[in-house]
Amino acid sequence: MGAIRRFIFRRRGGDRWHWTDVVAWTWLILGLVLMLGPAIWLTLSSFKTRSALNEFPPTLLPLTTETRAVEGFDEPLELYRVTLEDGEERVLAQVRRVGIVAQMVDPDDPGERIEVPIADRVPVRTTELATENFTEPLERFAFLTFFYNSVFVTVMATVITLIVNSMAAFALSKYQFRGRGTVLIFILATLMVPLPVILVPIYVVINYLNLFDSLWGVILPTVATPTGVFLLRQYMLTIPDELIEAARMDKASEWKIYWRIILPLTAPALAVLAIFSVMWRWNDFLWPLVVLSQRELYTLQVGLNAFAGELNVQWHYVLAMTVLTMLPVVVIFVFLQRFITSGVATTGMK
């Protein structure tokens, strides 16, 4: 233990602890609990059965009270370890609870009712993962359809985003033409118009184009992103013009230069944009909420919100579906963490 403690608290240069070190480590530990805790709590809760979710205070792990079929009762009864008045400990099945008194029976001899104050009984617990929380909504509530819709929107939107933006970035970085400055300012100006501001008119446009209640209506309006164009353009500016001239001498058409020379060389920037696009689209909420009205077309986010907003919230399903919605993002983050954080830091993009 001492060795471990020395290892953890060892400081560079063997200085003594400064009070700022204490503050820093307090902040870090607090951050660890506060930042990861909620997601972990969500995940643990999602494996609890419906009744376990209603318990207060909640348990950390997904525990369930053991039940047993008892003769004379239709439903299986929950088992409790009970301390009787004479100090004897027995395992009894609870029939019902009235105020602070529970009516219990001996599961092996169900004839006799025993009344026990609820403070004197402890449920018999076992760990059980309620995987039906996950499987049932997938079967019963069209969550698979939501999932498919989300995947379709994310993949299509990302592919189109990459192509459309890289084409524009290529034209804006590798050609000299009159009006280039105007185009750049035009693109920059679109930065000033976030979605909520033009929610109404885009909705109108989508209706004019007959794209209301269609996944393409979700995909198309935001595939051209100014940040994407600028990110790619910045990267393409670093590709030497001589390569393009060499390709022109090699009889390559401009289109061929774009996709045989420029696209492969822009791969790192394209990867950054692709990851961000996937995140944006997967997490997108307000726009799909406005444009999709048929349940079969809902994306995961909209579907999840609708499901959670129902009058009688079925938390055991909601939690499980929330975990499923979060999962792809978490997986991507775990594998590409460094890539993403450095991407954010250098581009200021989110």
Binding site: P38, M167, V200, W255, N305
Partner: protein, 345 residues
């Protein structure tokens, strides 16, 4: 020699594999190449520039610029019809409706009380959330900028919530704040009385601010961290030689040099705060009552969710919000331009 000449042009196994994977793409691109080569040969390079720009420009035009115009037009029309032909011009009526108040400090004296509730709630949110997010991000960035083991790990921890969707964020915290939720359980454990957090207008706003700070703080932390790492190390070494204490170095060196980055963070956070909607909407639904209903939620509900939707009124409200955002964005671009000039000069 025959097998030598039969060898494909890409010959390492990995390259062949990649070539196979990209084969469909190659095929499509090659198919497009013919007509495009013809285009280039007939109309010259200019045609190709237009071709490359066209998709992007078309999307910007149709889904950003055109909507801006439509927005203005719709804000001067009334009725519940969707298409312009069926709408009637009403002049400034929608704006008058929005500003029809007996007392501007009291939303409930206004005809569109939900709009003014949205305005005041958004203002409250901005005034509290922006400093909160900036301050926590600053402290986190300062802590993460120290020499320590596992810095990447800690940075990832603080950044993690940024990637979660607003719906997920809202539901995670809604679950914790439930009557039977984790928070009340923890408070009980400490011998304190819990409450129905989201049923109380003060606490609902508090948690809206808290949750959105929680969700976005990591993003600003990374920006500030990049700013901190651009401060030359030798400044600190020089300060160390002068016997400057750590807190003093923080006040006299770090914070002044970090100020330009901080300014960017503040404005980005402001722009984001004006548009706050989704995580708060999922968390509280705007309630209790209208106590956490934000401006964007008003636009959404007036234009889309209400039984009698009023696109004109929603358009008018969004134009007002757009003006505020435009000022903030211009401010941001101005600062960014000034910074790049300073760096260049």
């Amino acid at each position: 020699m025959t097998d030598e000449t039969e060898r494909p042009i890409t010959s390492t196994p990995l390259a062949s594999l990649r070539a196979a994977a990209f084969w469909p793409l190659r095929l499509v691109m090659n198919l497009i190449d013919r007509p495009l080569t013809w285009l280039q040969a007939t109309f010259g390079q200019r045609a190709m520039i237009v071709f490359f720009l066209l998709p992007n420009m078309a999307i910007f035009g149709i889904f950003v610029m055109l909507p801006l115009v439509i927005n203005v037009i719709y804000s001067f029309t009334g009725g519940s019809a969707l298409f312009l032909d069926d709408r009637v011009g009403v002049g400034f009526e929608q704006y008058q409706t929005l500003f029809d108040c007996r007392d501007f400090t009291d939303p409930f004296s206004c005809r569109q009380d939900a709009f003014w509730a949205g305005v005041y709630n958004t203002l409250t949110f901005m005034l509290l959330q922006v400093p909160a997010v900036a301050l926590t991000a600053l402290v986190t960035a300062l802590v993460l900028n120290r020499e320590m083991r596992g810095r990447g790990f800690w940075r990832a921890i603080f950044f993690f919530p940024v990637l979660l969707s607003p719906v997920v964020v809202g539901l995670i915290w809604k679950w914790i704040l439930e009557r039977n939720g984790l928070l009340n359980a923890l408070l009980n454990g400490l011998g304190l009385e819990g409450t129905v957090w989201l049923g109380d207008s003060f606490w609902a706003m508090f948690w809206a601010i808290f949750v959105s700070t929680w969700a976005h703080m990591g993003f600003y932390t990374l920006i500030l961290l990049a700013g901190l790492q651009s401060i030359p190390r030798d400044l600190y070494e020089a300060a160390d030689m002068d016997g400057t204490s750590r807190p003093r170095a923080l006040l006299r060196i770090t914070l002044p040099l970090l100020w330009p980055t901080m300014l960017v963070v503040l404005i980005l956070a402001l722009i984001r705060a004006v548009q706050i909607f989704d995580e708060v909407y999922v968390l509280t639904g705007g309630g209790p009552g209208t106590s956490t209903q934000m401006l964007v939620q008003y636009i959404y509900q007036t234009g889309f969710a209400a039984l009698l939707r009023n696109l004109g009124l929603a358009a008018a409200a969004s134009i007002l919000m757009g003006l505020v955002l435009m000022v903030l964005t211009l401010l941001q671009l101005g600062i960014a331009a000034r910074r790049s000039r300073e760096v260049a000069g």
